[in-house]
């Protein structure tokens, strides 16, 4: 058992944390007010300005709890961009060849890209199109899986462009 306990902390370090958690750094997109709780009518918790750096503490749907200059508050999730290079260690992408095993794949050695020239030089591959067609899942299977997964369908109306007080768009 002693050996077990000794192993645990090391093992836990290997388990990737949820990539959306803490220590992400962001920048406010548009100036506005933080609120003290994740509700639109909650008490104001101080102003934020465009490009103000914040530390992301917690995300809760449309709201994100941030800390900046010793103050904490909630801002709209979509009003935050992430700071370049501030992505969590477990995430991939920036340099594909450094990809970790977080997606269950081994390290990629040769990076396969898809750029403008690849498209320009492509010869249409209709055998691949046929293969794509063979992947189709029936609506009945999709429906059954959604029910089994506990997904709750909603009636939601489409959005218009919306308006903002800061900028007329």
């Amino acid at each position: 058992m002693r050996a077990l306990f000794a192993l645990c902390p090391a093992a836990m370090l290997l388990v990737p944390l949820s990539p959306a958690v803490a220590a992400e750094k962001g920048l406010i997109i548009r100036a506005g007010e933080m609120v003290s709780e994740p509700f639109i009518d909650a008490a104001k918790a101080g102003p934020v300005t465009a490009n103000q750096p914040v530390t992301i503490v917690e995300k809760r749907g449309g709201w994100t709890n941030v800390e900046s200059g010793g103050r904490k508050g909630w801002v709209r999730t979509l009003n935050i961009r992430l700071e370049a290079g501030a992505r969590p260690a477990g995430s991939t992408g920036q340099v594909a060849s450094l990809r970790t095993g977080s997606s269950g794949r081994t390290v990629t050695t040769g990076v396969k890209g898809l750029d403008e020239n690849d498209i320009r030089n492509a010869t249409p591959d209709m055998a691949q199109v046929a293969q794509l067609s063979s992947l189709v899942v029936s609506p009945a299977e999709a429906q059954a899986n959604a029910a089994q997964s506990g997904l709750h369908e909603q009636q939601v109306a489409y959005l218009d462009k919306g308006k903002t007080k800061e900028k007329g768009k």
């Binding site: 709209r76 992505r87 920036q94 498209i119 209709m126 189709v136 308006k163």
Partner: protein, 304 residues
């Protein structure tokens, strides 16, 4: 932008004149070219407006062949099935639920997703691998579904094809399939233009607004797409993102537009999910339990 209003108000021929001006990547053709283009575009515009779902699917299949010719389907049966099933479920909550939708993962490290008319949707393995949860995947697939639903590609193709001979469009549609024929080769070139230049920027914003609604209708958090845009907002314009950056508005601009459109309007829905255990399992298959930690101890206890 004024291009949208103008486009809605004027005739097909006039609109096709205005479209290039509204596009961020417009090239300004000479006057003679515009006049000739308008003649062709009117003819083709009429054709495209009247095409049936079947004709749209044929065009979409030929265009999907271009992307698949550049990056084939990933050899990942479980992933392909998962994306196909989710895509079908999302498409059932769009305005064109009965199209023969097809979804696939293409084998490239780049971050991108493509769609073509008639319901073809392709997402890159690189983008999929970097997602935080299933709501993000739902957001991206729904964005592509929205392009198909709103026929954004047909508008872009119409612009590209305006200088091409279009007389044999009917022969192409009525033909035996494959890519022979004048129209078919013009279509392939127009498709390549579309993939490297992108769609109208306003169409991208519209697809974002529709995507969050489709995702929520299907039971997913509408903030998944925003999560992907945040991920993209943090990366430099390095190689793996070049084509995506060239063909879409900047992620931060899309975030801002989406924030303004959504406000708190989609916050009140109960039971929407960010992730599902099946998605976590798909991407990070649990390693087999370490043999040292298993059986012997428990067995002994059970016997007592």
């Amino acid at each position: 932008m004024s291009g949208r209003c103008i486009r809605a108000a004027l005739t097909v021929a006039l609109a096709s004149l205005c479209l290039p001006a509204a596009s961020a990547f417009a090239q300004i053709p000479d006057i003679g070219g515009i006049i000739n283009a308008a003649k062709g575009a009117k003819k083709l515009g009429d054709s495209f407006r009247k095409i049936s779902d079947e004709e749209e699917v044929k065009i979409g299949g030929d265009l999907a062949g271009i992307v698949l010719g550049a990056a084939p389907l990933a050899n990942d049966p479980a992933g392909q099935h998962y994306v196909s099933r989710l895509g079908q479920w999302l498409a059932m909550h769009s305005d064109r639920p009965t199209l023969p939708w097809k979804f696939g993962i293409i084998d490239t490290d780049d971050f991108n997703a493509f769609s073509t008319p008639g319901g073809y949707v392709l997402i890159s393995r690189g983008l999929l691998d970097d997602m935080h949860n299933e709501a993000e995947l739902a957001g991206v697939l729904s964005h592509e579904i929205a392009h198909v639903v709103r026929k954004h590609h047909l508008q872009a193709l119409q612009t590209s094809l305006r200088d091409s001979a279009v007389g044999d469009f009917k022969d192409y549609i009525g033909g035996p399939g494959g890519l022979a024929g004048q129209f078919a080769s013009a279509l392939v070139n127009a498709g390549k233009d579309m993939f490297v230049r992108g769609l109208d920027r306003n169409d991208e914003y519209e697809a974002d607004r529709m995507a969050v609604v489709i995702a929520a209708r299907a039971g997913y958090s509408p903030y998944g797409l925003g999560g992907v845009l945040q991920t993209l907002s943090a990366v430099p314009e390095s190689k793996g993102f070049a084509l995506m950056y060239k063909t879409h508005p900047l992620p931060v601009d899309r975030l801002e537009r989406l924030d303004i459109a959504m406000g708190t309007r989609l916050d009140g829905y109960e039971g929407l999910v960010d992730d599902l255990p099946s998605f976590v399992a798909l991407r990070a298959p649990p390693p087999p339990p370490p043999p040292a930690l298993a059986a012997p101890v428990k067995k002994g206890k059970r016997r007592q």
